[in-house]
Amino acid sequence: MVPESTGFAELLNKARERYPAVFDNLGTAALWVLFAGLLIAALILYTNLFVVGVIFGSIIALGAIGLTLIYGIMKFAHFAHGDMMMLAAYLAFFALTGRIVGEKTEVDLGWSLDRLPGATTGLGPLSFGYGLLLAMLVALIATVALFVALDNLIYRRLRQRGSGIVIFAMVSLGIAIVARSVILILWGPEPRFYVPGIFPAHEFPFGIKLKADQIFIFATVAIAAILVYFLLFRTRIGKAMRATSDNPELARVSGIDTDQVIRWTWAIGGALVAVAGVLLAIQAQLKPELGFTILLPLFAAAILGGIGSPQGALIGAMIVGITQEVSLGVEISIAGRDILPQILPLAPGYKFAVAFVILILILLVRPQGLFGAKA
C-alpha cells in the first residue's frame, strides 16, 4: 500500500555510496561554485540588495556563531537563542529609557541611561548616542550572567542526567516562551524603537543606499568577529573549546576542564546574543515575536556552515542574509519574458521562509554543511 521510498535524497545517497571520492568532491565543489556564482551574479545585478543582505547577514552571523558554538560543544540545539536576542535588546531598551510600558502602564524608573548628558545625541551621522552603547554593554553583562546562571541551574542538571534531545528541546523552548512572555509583560506587544524617527539613507557608488546605522552594524560585527577569532584561535581556552566541539570524549580524556569550557561557551554565546539582539533592534525594531522569527535564519546559517564551525556560521549567515534580501527584488526574465512571475520577486512576507528553503536544501544535499566534517 505504501510505495517504495525514493526521492532525490535517496538517489543522492546511492550515488555517494558508489562513487564516494569523486561524487563527494564533485558535489562539494559544485556547491561552492553554485553559491559563489549566485553571489557574484547577485552582487553585480542587485548591488544594493546584496549590500543590505550583508548587513542583515552580519546580524544573523553573530547569533549563528554563538548558536553553533553551543551546538558544537554541548551538542544541543539552543531553541531559546532567538528569543534571548530579543530579551537582550529589550534589556538595553530598559537600561536606556528606564521605562516599563504597555497596557495602561508607563512606569519610569527615575533614572536611566538616556538622562546622562548628551547620551541621546546622535554620534555623528548615527541615529543614537553613546547612551545606547552603554545600554548595549549593560545588556551584554546581564545576558552573559543570565546564560551562565541558566546553565548552572538547568542545563547542567539535564546533562548530568543524560537527558535526551526531547527534554533539551522542550526546556529551551520553555525558556524561550518565558523570555518572550517577560518581554510582553514588561514592554507590551507594540513595536518599539530605541530612537524614534526616520533616518535618511546616504548614497554610495554603484547604487548603494545605506543608513549610517547600517554601516555601524557592519563595523560592530566585524570587530566582534575578529575578537571571537582571536579568542577561539589564539587563546588556550578557545582552542579547548574547539577541541571539545571536535571530539568531546577525547577532550575529557586529555584532561581539558569541560566545565570551564562550557562556562566560557555560554559566556561568549551570551555576549554575542546581546550584541546581535541590540543590532537587530537597531536595524529593524523591538518586537517580541521577532525572537522566534529569527530562529530559523539562525539555524539555517549554522547548519549551512556546518555545526560547530564559527567560520561556517559566518559564511552561512551571509549567504542566508543575501539570499533573503535579493529574493525580494530579483526578477528572472529571459528574452523579455518573466520567468516565475508568481514567485520572484518574493512577497515580503516570505522573507524568512527563504532561510527555511536553504535549510531544507542543505539538509538534503549536504547535511554536514559547508565546513562540517562528514559524520
Partner: protein, 234 residues
C-alpha cells in the same frame, strides 16, 4: 614500586557486568600487555582504571594511593595518560594545537615540551600545522601518542595502539612505544596483536571472559603453548 594496580575490579556498562574481579599491576618502568579474545574485557579494564567507567567493586591504586572512581581529569592530573583506540586526535585542530590540548592543564610554558615530544615523532613534526584529520592512520596514531606524552605522565594507558594500521606502521608504533618506555614512562597496553606486543613487554596478562587467565613475563607467555595455540594464532 608498583605504579598502577587494579585489585579485583568488577565493572561493565550499565547493567551488564564485563569484568568479574580482575587484578593486574604495573611496576615502575615496565611495559605490561594485556591480551585475550574479544569480549574478554581488556578495553573495559583500561577504561575503568582511568575513570571512564564506574568501578562497581574492587580498587584502583596509583602509586599506592586509592584512586578508584575518580574522574579522568583527576587521573590526568595525577600522572596517567590514556590513548583511546579510535577517535584519538582532534581532527579539526592542527598537530600543534592537538599537542597544546594535551598540555591543557600545564600551567607552565609547554613549548619546550612540545619540541621535545615532536622530536620523538619526526614524521608528525613535519606536518605540525596540518589539521590532524588530514594525517594518515599511522601518523594519527603517532600524534595520539605524542599528545598523551605532553604532560610527562608516569604511566601511559594504550588501547590497541596497532589497531587498523598497516604492518610497517605497526612496527614503527611499537618501536616508538619502546622508546617512550626507555625514557622512563611505564606502559600498560591492551592489544589484539599479541605476538608483537608481548615481544616488547616485560610482563603480560591474559584475560578471558572478564577474568584473569594467565600471567607471566613477556617471553614466557610468548613461548607458552597454551597461549600460543589459543591467542597467538593471528
Amino acid at each position: 614500586m608498583t605504579v598502577l594496580e587494579a585489585r579485583e575490579v568488577v565493572s561493565g556498562y550499565g547493567e551488564v557486568e564485563i569484568l568479574h574481579g580482575v587484578s593486574i599491576r604495573v611496576e615502575e618502568g615496565e611495559v605490561v600487555t594485556i591480551i585475550g579474545p574479544n569480549g574478554a574485557g581488556k578495553s573495559t579494564l583500561l577504561k575503568t582504571v582511568f575513570g571512564l567507567l564506574p568501578c562497581k567493586h574492587g580498587a584502583v591504586l596509583f602509586d599506592g594511593e586509592d584512586v578508584t572512581g575518580q574522574s579522568p581529569q583527576a587521573m590526568v592530573r595525577k600522572g596517567m595518560s590514556y590513548v583511546p583506540q579510535s577517535d584519538n586526535v582532534f581532527p579539526l585542530l592542527t598537530v600543534q594545537e592537538n599537542l597544546e590540548m594535551g598540555a591543557f592543564i600545564r600551567r607552565d610554558d609547554y613549548h619546550s615540551k612540545t619540541e621535545e615530544v615532536l622530536a620523538l615523532f619526526p614524521d608528525v613534526m613535519e606536518r605540525r600545522h596540518t589539521r590532524a584529520g588530514k594525517l594518515s592512520g599511522g601518523q594519527r596514531q603517532m600524534l595520539a601518542l605524542a599528545r598523551a606524552l605532553m604532560l610527562d605522565p608516569r604511566i601511559l594507558l594504550l588501547d590497541e595502539p596497532s589497531a587498523s594500521l598497516a604492518p610497517n606502521m605497526v612496527e614503527l608504533v611499537f618501536t616508538k612505544i619502546l622508546d617512550i618506555n626507555r625514557s622512563g614512562v611505564s606502559i600498560i597496553m591492551v592489544e589484539q596483536n599479541a605476538r608483537e606486543s608481548l615481544k616488547l613487554s616485560h610482563r603480560g596478562y591474559v584475560l578471558a571472559m572478564g577474568q584473569n587467565r594467565l600471567e607471566g613475563s613477556g617471553e614466557n607467555l610468548l613461548e607458552s603453548e597454551e597461549v600460543g595455540k589459543t591467542y597467538l594464532g593471528g
